[in-house]
């Protein structure tokens, strides 16, 4: 029997606390009760980034978002929506608050343009623990395309895209890659910095939990470009679910031959390890992170030399942030012109933000670089909960305080640097 409907249940840590796993088993029981188990697929996915309405239940192909849903709601939703085909309007997530997300879901059906998801394309849509879901959504396609290019062509493509590092400093990614490639060495490393510790920031966690294969694919591509054969993903110890998901992803990628020797019959061989952090904010700094992988106290090194020439165990090392890596496969699949069509001339692409504080909607969004703080607050956060806007802090404690006078400044690396503030990570 063919599957006619698909149910996604959000299963990020916040939804878990609110009982997403119980929801899953209740859905299983109810679907079995109506003899629908073969016709309706059920998947625990990650969230859409809207913690205020979690756990969310999304039903395709109608793209209806229900939330917040409790176990008690499940029998009615299955009976009405899945069995009788009537959408349960009263259980839909508040549309006025979720408009960005609803528009995004419609955009997938080719109707409305809206929030442009590049980094978060798969998050909340695929089963992060099933590599076949990733492959079915263009997964590992970019790796195949990259391996048909020369490393120099590949680096030129990343340079042409204008991608700037999303870890906070905004350094041109292609340039960093070329530094590592141009350093002669018998051994090179690639590291993914997933030690996201800035208070109030959890955009990398959502990518790690929701789309771990995208990070592996990007690391493989970068390894080919710079000539590395070994990689580390340094995930902070507090992100237990992200660590588990990444380990599962690595196992599956090894089984499918995406990791190992002579990948796709090419000269690329790559193995990757997960290193769980042991609780140190400073290890988000890349040289402290390297010290930590080496088994030492996470104390930053003096620079220069930079990791691109003297990194892990003294070898040339490419370190990129999770969000930077997540941009790589889409750039390769769609080209640098497409990437430059998003964002601003000096900061192409999108940026993932977590919105928290005294606003009506706290959530995770992905928007083009260059939108203003006023737009973020009025459009996505649906305005201030009380009083008028006084200040915002970007990118955690090491970011900047943005006063109300800067709320119409475009949020991109260049514009923020010119006014002396930082966009943060």
């Amino acid at each position: 029997m063919t599957v006619r409907s698909m149910i996604l249940i959000s299963n990020d840590p916040e939804s878990r606390i609110r009982g997403s796993e119980k929801l899953f088993s209740e859905f299983q029981q109810q679907l079995a009760h109506y003899d629908l188990a073969d016709e309706v697929s059920l998947t625990l996915a990650t969230d859409l980034g809207s913690s205020y309405a979690s756990p969310l239940v999304i039903v395709y192909p109608e793209a209806v978002i229900y939330g917040p849903i409790t176990v008690a709601d499940v029998p009615y939703i299955v009976k009405e929506h899945l069995y009788k085909g009537r959408i349960v309007d009263e259980k839909r997530a508040p549309v006025h608050e979720l408009s960005g997300k609803v528009a995004w879901l419609s955009a997938r059906e080719g109707t409305l343009p809206a929030e442009n998801r590049v980094v978060l394309k798969n998050v909340g849509v695929i089963d992060a623990e099933d590599i076949e879901d990733y492959i079915a959504n263009e997964g590992y396609q970019a790796l195949g395309m990259a391996l048909e290019m020369s490393p120099d062509e590949l680096i030129d493509l990343i340079k042409a895209s204008g991608l700037l590092g999303r870890g906070g400093a905004g350094f041109p990614a292609g340039l960093k890659w070329s530094f590592v490639k141009n350093t002669d060495s018998d051994k090179k490393y690639v590291i993914c910095n997933a030690d996201e510790s800035e208070p109030g920031t959890f955009k990398d966690r959502v990518v790690l939990e929701g789309d771990p294969h995208a990070i592996l694919e990007a690391m493989l591509i970068s390894a080919y470009a710079v000539g590395a054969d070994e990689g580390y993903i340094y995930i902070r110890g507090e992100y237990q679910l992200a660590i588990e998901r990444m380990e599962t992803a690595i196992q599956q990628a090894e089984q499918y031959g995406f990791l190992g020797e002579n990948i796709f019959g090419s000269e690329l061989s790559f193995k990757v390890h997960v290193h769980a952090g042991a609780g140190a904010y400073i290890c988000g700094e890349e040289t402290a992170l390297i010290e930590s992988i080496e088994g030492k106290r996470g104390e930053p090194r003096n620079r220069p030399p930079y990791p691109t020439t003297f990194g892990l165990w003294g070898k040339p090392t490419l370190i990129n942030n999770v969000e930077t890596f997540a941009n790589i496969p889409p750039i390769i699949r769609n080209g640098s012109d497409w990437y430059r069509s998003l964002g601003t001339a000096s900061s192409p692409g999108t940026k993932v933000y977590t919105i928290l504080g005294n606003v009506n909607v706290t959530e995770l969004i992905e928007v083009p670089m260059g939108i203003t703080l006023r737009e973020v607050i009025t459009i996505y956060a649906k305005g201030m909960k009380s009083g008028s806007f006084k200040m915002a802090q970007t990118g955690g404690s090491s970011g900047s305080i943005i006063p109300a006078s800067l709320q119409d400044t475009p949020m991109d690396f260049d514009s923020y640097n010119k006014t002396g503030v930082s966009l943060g990570s």
Partner: protein
């Protein structure tokens, strides 16, 4: 005393097993220390001495790493470890009141362990689930949107 010796022997055996499983290079030190903390609750002097032999590292080197990372401990800790997020996003949504309720209920200051060895109270930096602050972590159970009057109920789940 005899039982203490048996305990020590058992602990040493476990430590050797952990090192055998994870490895004995310098890069294995932190994963090994994490595993020891998970298994015994803390890294004892005995463990440090044994690791020094097994991994060919000076004891002061091991101690310096073990005391650097927040998730490693060289002090015995209680049966349950309560971690309270003290970062700004939890603080501004009422975290301070929840933390004082927690301290009152336990009679502990951050870093202390109760006399009956049941609880250790720690503060932690951001756990990355700011959408549901204030957040408390008891062992690996996470509680979100916590209010002061829920604190006793949460603790009673561990009776």
């Amino acid at each position: 005393m005899v039982s203490d010796q048996i305990k020590e022997t058992e602990q040493l055996e476990d430590i050797r097993e952990i090192v055998e499983k994870i490895g004995s290079t310098r890069a294995d030190l932190i994963p090994v220390l994490q595993e020891i903390t998970n298994k015994f609750g803390y890294i004892s002097q005995l463990a440090i001495k044994e690791l020094s032999d097994l991994m060919s590292l000076p004891t002061k080197e091991i101690l310096s790493v073990a005391t650097f990372y927040r998730m490693l401990s060289t002090q015995p800790r209680g049966e349950h470890i309560i971690q309270f997020c003290e970062s700004a996003p939890c603080h501004v949504v009422g975290g301070r009141e929840v933390f004082s309720a927690l301290q009152d209920a336990l009679g502990l200051e951050p870093g202390q362990t109760s006399a009956d060895n049941k609880w250790t109270l720690l503060t932690t930096s951001c756990l990355g689930v700011c959408g549901i602050g204030p957040v408390i972590l008891v062992d690996t159970d996470m509680y979100g949107n916590v209010t002061s009057d829920q604190v006793k109920n949460i603790l009673s789940r561990y009776d």
